[in-house]
C-alpha cells in the first residue's frame, strides 16, 4: 500500500462534483501545488469548503472548476484586496456563495467529525443568514424549550492539506498554526496530503505528540517542496508578492495558462513524479 504518489495521480482520484475541503487560512499554507493540478486537470463542479480562503479559491474559480463555495470570508488580506475572480463569478451567478460565519464552517465540519447531522451554534441566530440559507435551521432545545440555531453537517469527499513533513505512510507534522486542517482531516472521507519533505518512521517515533494527522486517516501523499507558493508556509517561506499581483492584475486567459505552466515542474516534479 504505497501512499507516496505523483501530484497528477493523486488529483486524478478527485471526481467532478466532489465536496473538497482546502487546508490553510487566507494566504497561509494553502495546498497550492494540489490546487493548480486540479486546475490543470480541469475538474468541474467542485463544492469548496474553507473558513477563510483567498488565492486558492480564486485560482479554482478562474479555472472554472467550482460550483459553490462554503466559507466565512473570501478575500486576500489588506495588501491585495478582494478575490476578484471569485467575486465576479458569484455576482454573475456562475458559482454559488454559501455564506457562513467562519465558526459555522467549523461547526459543520465538527458535525461530520463526530458523525452527527448537525451542530448547535450560538450567536448566528441574530442574522439574516439563517433565513436566507437552508443549511441553517432553528430548533427547540428539548431541555429548556428555548430556540437554538443548528448548522448542517458538511462531510467533504476529499481534504487537500499541505504539511511540513510526513513519513511514507502519511504520519504528518504541521509546524506553526494548524488552522482548520486537523479538523478537516477528521471530517473528510479521504485525505490527500502534500508535504515539504518525507521523514523516516524513526523521526516520527521521536515526537509522537507532533503528529497531528495519523497515517491511518491518510490516503495519499504528494511530495511538494514549496507546495504553498505563491502563498506562504508560516515560518518557512513568504508570499511571492509579484506572482499574486500579476495574477490579480493580468486577467486574460493566456496569463493564467502561463501561471499554471510556470509552476508545472515544481508541482509535478520531473516526468510527473517528483524525484525525492
Amino acid at each position: 500500500m504505497k501512499k507516496i504518489i505523483s501530484c497528477s495521480k493523486a488529483i486524478a482520484t478527485i471526481l467532478d462534483g466532489s465536496y473538497l475541503a482546502i487546508g490553510g487560512n487566507v494566504l497561509h499554507r494553502a495546498p497550492m501545488a494540489l490546487i493548480r493540478e486540479i486546475a490543470r486537470q480541469k475538474k468541474r463542479n467542485l463544492k469548496l469548503v474553507k473558513t477563510a480562503g483567498a488565492h486558492d479559491i480564486d485560482v479554482l474559480v478562474r479555472a472554472k472548476c467550482v460550483a459553490s463555495v462554503d466559507a466565512g470570508f473570501i478575500s486576500y488580506e489588506t495588501e491585495y484586496g478582494l478575490a476578484t475572480y471569485y467575486r465576479k463569478a458569484v455576482e454573475s451567478g456562475e458559482i454559488k456563495a454559501n455564506e457562513h460565519a467562519c465558526y459555522t464552517v467549523i461547526s459543520a465540519l465538527n458535525a461530520a467529525k463526530i458523525g452527527v447531522p448537525f451542530m448547535p451554534c450560538r450567536g448566528i441566530m441574530i442574522s439574516d443568514l439563517v433565513e436566507a440559507n437552508d443549511y441553517f435551521e432553528k430548533i427547540m432545545d428539548p431541555f429548556s424549550d428555548e430556540e437554538i440555531t443548528v448548522i448542517k453537517a458538511i462531510k467533504p469527499d476529499v481534504a487537500i492539506i499541505h504539511v511540513n513533513a510526513c513519513d511514507e505512510d502519511g504520519n504528518a507534522i504541521i509546524e506553526g498554526p494548524n488552522f482548520e486542517d486537523v479538523l478537516m482531516s477528521r471530517a473528510s472521507k479521504r485525505i490527500i496530503l502534500s508535504t515539504e519533505k518525507i521523514i523516516s518512521k524513526a523521526q516520527v517515533r521521536l515526537n509522537p505528540e507532533k503528529i497531528v494527522i495519523p497515517s491511518f486517516l491518510v490516503e495519499s501523499v504528494v511530495v511538494s517542496p514549496r507546495g504553498c507558493a505563491p502563498g506562504s508556509l508560516p515560518g518557512k517561506y513568504e508570499v511571492e508578492d509579484t506572482v499574486i499581483r500579476n495574477f490579480l492584475e493580468k486577467k486574460d486567459d493566456m496569463m493564467f495558462e502561463e501561471y499554471l505552466e510556470a509552476y508545472r515542474i515544481q508541482d509535478q516534479g520531473k516526468g510527473g513524479v517528483f524525484a525525492w
Binding site: 473558513t51 470570508f73 488580506e77 450567536g123 498554526p177 506562504s232
Partner: protein
C-alpha cells in the same frame, strides 16, 4: 491645537490611540484577518496601560512577543511565533460562544443606526450587485463577545446608512471607530460620541447616511509624542496605514 502638528498626524494614528484606550487591563482581546490597525492598537495598549491584556488571534499565538508586523496579513506566523501558549481560532470562537471573550475586533461594509452590520452583499442577497468577502467571524462573534469593537477606514454615506441591505449580524457592538469619528451603541442606536481633531461635526454629519444627534460630542485627543514613539516602535513599517 497647532495647525502644523495636525498636518503631520495621520488619521490611522488617532484611530490606533483611540482603540488602544478602549481596551482594559486583563481583558481577553481577539482580532482576525485584515486587521493591522487593531493589531497595532492592541500592542500599544499592552505596552502602556494594559500589560495583562491577553492578545488572541487566528493562528493562535497567545501574547506573541517582539512582532515583526506584516503588511499583507494579520494571521501569519509572526503572531504565532514567540507566543506563551497556542490557543487557535476554533478555541477563540468557543471562548466567545460561552461568554468569556471580552473584546473582538470586527469590521463590515455597511452599518445602520440600529447597529446592524452588513458584510455580505450590496443589493439583493440572492442576486447581488456586489458580493462582499463575508463577515468572517462576525455573525457569531458580534452577538456573543462581551464588547465588539468595529473599525472601518472609510466613513461615508454609503458605509453609514439608514438601513443595511442585509443583516449579516448585530448584537454587542460597543463602539465603531472611523477616521472621522467614534460611534457608541447605546439605547439601541448608534450615537455619535466623539470626532477626530482632523474633522468637523459638519463633515461627520455630511458623511453619515443616518441622522445623528450632535449634542455632547467630544473631540478626540491627538496622540502624545510618547504614544507616537511607542506606535512607531511597534509598527516600524507603517502597516497601520495600509487600509488608507
Amino acid at each position: 491645537m497647532v495647525t502644523n502638528l495636525l498636518k503631520e498626524v495621520h488619521p490611522a494614528d488617532i484611530m490606533v490611540v483611540t482603540i488602544a484606550n478602549l481596551l482594559e487591563n486583563e481583558e481577553k482581546v481577539f482580532h482576525g484577518v485584515s486587521s493591522q490597525l487593531p493589531m497595532v492598537a492592541i500592542l500599544l495598549a499592552k505596552a502602556t496601560h494594559a500589560k495583562d491584556l491577553t492578545y488572541l488571534n487566528i493562528p493562535g499565538g497567545v501574547n506573541p512577543q517582539s512582532l515583526q508586523l506584516s503588511s499583507y496579513s494579520s494571521a501569519g506566523y509572526e503572531v504565532y511565533a514567540n507566543a506563551e501558549a497556542i490557543f487557535p481560532l476554533e478555541e477563540v470562537f468557543d471562548l466567545s460562544m460561552r461568554g468569556e471573550l471580552d473584546v473582538a475586533f470586527l469590521s463590515g461594509v455597511q452599518f445602520d443606526v440600529h447597529g446592524n452590520v452588513n458584510a455580505s452583499v450590496i443589493g439583493s442577497y440572492t442576486n447581488p450587485k456586489v458580493r462582499l468577502p463575508g463577515g468572517a467571524g462576525s455573525a457569531v462573534l458580534i452577538p456573543t463577545v462581551k464588547r465588539a469593537l468595529i473599525w472601518r477606514s472609510k466613513h461615508d454615506p454609503r458605509t453609514f446608512v439608514e438601513q443595511v441591505d442585509f443583516v449579516t449580524t448585530k448584537g454587542n457592538i460597543d463602539r465603531i471607530i472611523t477616521p472621522l469619528a467614534v460611534f457608541k451603541y447605546q439605547d439601541e442606536r448608534l450615537q455619535l460620541e466623539s470626532i477626530s481633531p482632523l474633522t468637523s461635526i459638519e463633515e461627520v454629519v455630511r458623511q453619515t447616511g443616518f441622522e445623528i444627534n450632535t449634542d455632547h460630542i467630544t473631540v478626540l485627543p491627538l496622540p502624545t509624542s510618547e504614544e507616537m514613539r511607542i506606535i512607531q516602535q511597534i509598527d516600524k513599517k507603517g502597516v497601520r496605514y495600509k487600509e488608507f
